[in-house]
Symmetry: D5
Subunit: 98 residues, 10 copies
């Protein structure tokens, strides 16, 4: 099943540049794995904001929460989830069928 996620990142000012870079490196690796596994079907940057829209394809809420709360930067992220279904006007089930 598909979920649209909006994630806004708010690092506290107390983090050092090194800590921030470390978070970002681990986040990149974590995100890469999800993409390779086909769990994260897409991710885009919101232009001008430290935020992303991403599409997850997961068949279980518990699994999805484990994935989302597993992001290294989860503590500093405001995450909103929107369940998506196939649109009646869609020619195909985008990002869902393989």
């Amino acid at each position: 099943m598909l979920f649209l996620a909006r994630m806004d990142v708010n690092f506290p000012d107390s983090l050092t540049p090194e800590q921030t870079a470390d978070f970002q490196a681990r986040e990149k690796e974590y995100s890469g794995n999800l993409q390779e596994k086909g769990i994260m079907r897409a991710i885009w940057r919101v232009v001008g904001e430290y935020a992303n829209y991403s599409i997850f394809d997961v068949d279980d809420h518990d699994e999805l929460h484990t994935i989302l709360s597993g992001f290294p930067m989860f503590k500093y992220m405001d995450v909103k989830i929107t369940p998506l279904s196939k649109h009646p006007n869609a020619l195909k089930y985008y990002l869902h069928e393989g």
Copy 2:
């Protein structure tokens, strides 16, 4: 360039079922054309709401506005556009590169 669109439909109560059906038929055809042309890269239904999230790939704002305001149901739609760019953690430019 990619744009995320959220579209919420609010038909006034004064429309007859026939008028509504006609709008929806023309909207489906219009949307189908956009998908075939690769302008509308994806469209999903927001579960539980008469709304969609869709991804447009257009290289010009004027063209994009012409497309959006050309939807048969545009008058009854609340549309919000969010410009998207490639995310630094993305393994590919999803829905953008062919």
Copy 3:
């Protein structure tokens, strides 16, 4: 999978009492069926408002949207869906396990 739904009903003033009563009767029947099938696990009235909170147990977004948009009063309802997962402090998966 569990979903919390908040549904707010806004009947237009143009409906006659008979039309309203007919909608409500069909809604009651529809809702009863969902409860008997174990799809709607619970439903409560929000005190003081023409609104409800309800819990749906459905394993597919497309099925869930079909169910929700199938409510007779869907056209007059503002519906918000929140995906739920098992809480780490929960002694059991409430309303989910049978």
Copy 4:
């Protein structure tokens, strides 16, 4: 009487991992007791967020506030309460009758 509670947790960045873990352990124990006593009838995780929806069955506001403000993490929680009553379409008084 049933109350729906939405609780959002916002730990300040100044807490050490040990302090956070201690809070969470005491919260788990406190929550478990409430569930065993039938005061907390249900609790779910909001997918993607450090938040829960939970159902309380308490017959007195003073008692309910004592319970809620007694949560170890109360100081770091944003809590919203919604009184619930039996829905006219409900086949039973979910989570209320035993």
Copy 5:
């Protein structure tokens, strides 16, 4: 138990002055009964707005909803309920103890 209610009235423009007056007369009578029974402990007008704040003393959510949805003008009212409990600094349980 005490509940604070905020009620905002929005009559549609289609009501005739006579219909409006009739609603208001029935609402006044209904409200008077509740006050005499000690169910509605207080009611005030919000200065400058067609709205009121009122205090209800009811020991059951189902009863409270029946009371609130029984207001003749319920259909044209936006009602928000806030459960109240005794404040630790209160010298007495205002409007609650007889």
Copy 6:
């Protein structure tokens, strides 16, 4: 004249438990005096929140602001004031006439 006040308390995390307790003790005393003088006609706890609704009977805005800004915890409080008048359906001017 009657004023409804909603007060939300937000203590910064930097306060020690002793400082917090001291604030609360002074606030309790201050609030008690206002109640004895009939200035604060009522105060209730908002169930589940570190907030109160209270009714002030003061005949002058300057006096009211002096009273409100005199609360020991004023610096940590978000206060919203709503002027109240006698409701046309009220059987008496609640909390106003002695």
Copy 7:
């Protein structure tokens, strides 16, 4: 005592130009009387909006509500009241002392 009022006018589309003009004429006369009596101490137009900010000097909430709800256009106005007091940095009590 001084009150700042913000009033937003929303005429329904069903009013004829004559009805609208009649409302506006009666409103102008009503407003003029209030100004002559020193009740309405000032009124300004919010640039670009069918709205005003105005200052009322009234010593009683009941009187103020009678005045505000007496505006011919009250039914079509959204009114928000803010109680004002003398500012500690003010060289005089503007619009209050004669």
Copy 8:
């Protein structure tokens, strides 16, 4: 030209009482000068809040911004500006003509 300003003050908890008092003293002096020059035509305290409404009479946006950003407490203030014009029902151009 007249501008209505709403200013909300939010001192960080890290300021010492002495620093706060110093800010307030400089602010009082600065505000007094503006009033004497007829630039600040009026200022009132919002009852119950560390905020003010004030009226500025300035003929140039650049000058107005210089004035506003020159307030000693500007860094700790949330300022919203509303341009005002003469109301068609106003008997005079309040606070504008001398």
Copy 9:
């Protein structure tokens, strides 16, 4: 002086296509005149919405309100005005100096 205006158009469903077209023609002419006179320095369409951002250069609020409320479609427009001044980092006073 420069003002940024955001204008959102909401035509009621009761207007006929002919009425709408007439409004739009008169609006276009009115807008053209303002641009020729250098009063309206710029106007853009908000992509995907029946709304515009426009820049006005007017030296008097009363004149600006007359201009804005003179738009043929004013009755159906939600207008928000933001006063602009020269930015300290601007290489020139854009759209202001000739």
Copy 10:
């Protein structure tokens, strides 16, 4: 293509005056370069607020995000982007054509 940007600056209180001044100097230089290159077509100060409205002319979202996130003060800025297109009533494509 044109984009309207609203940027609100929120420096944390922990920055020293020297750090703030350094940020502002680098921001001024960065902004100057963008203006010279015709990328930033305009920038204005929002009167009374530490915020700006600016117009960017960039033909690619990725480039635009790189530019925006390259602002020295990006970490302390809340940025909202609105895509603009040519308005049907515009006599020219303001700030777009040369």
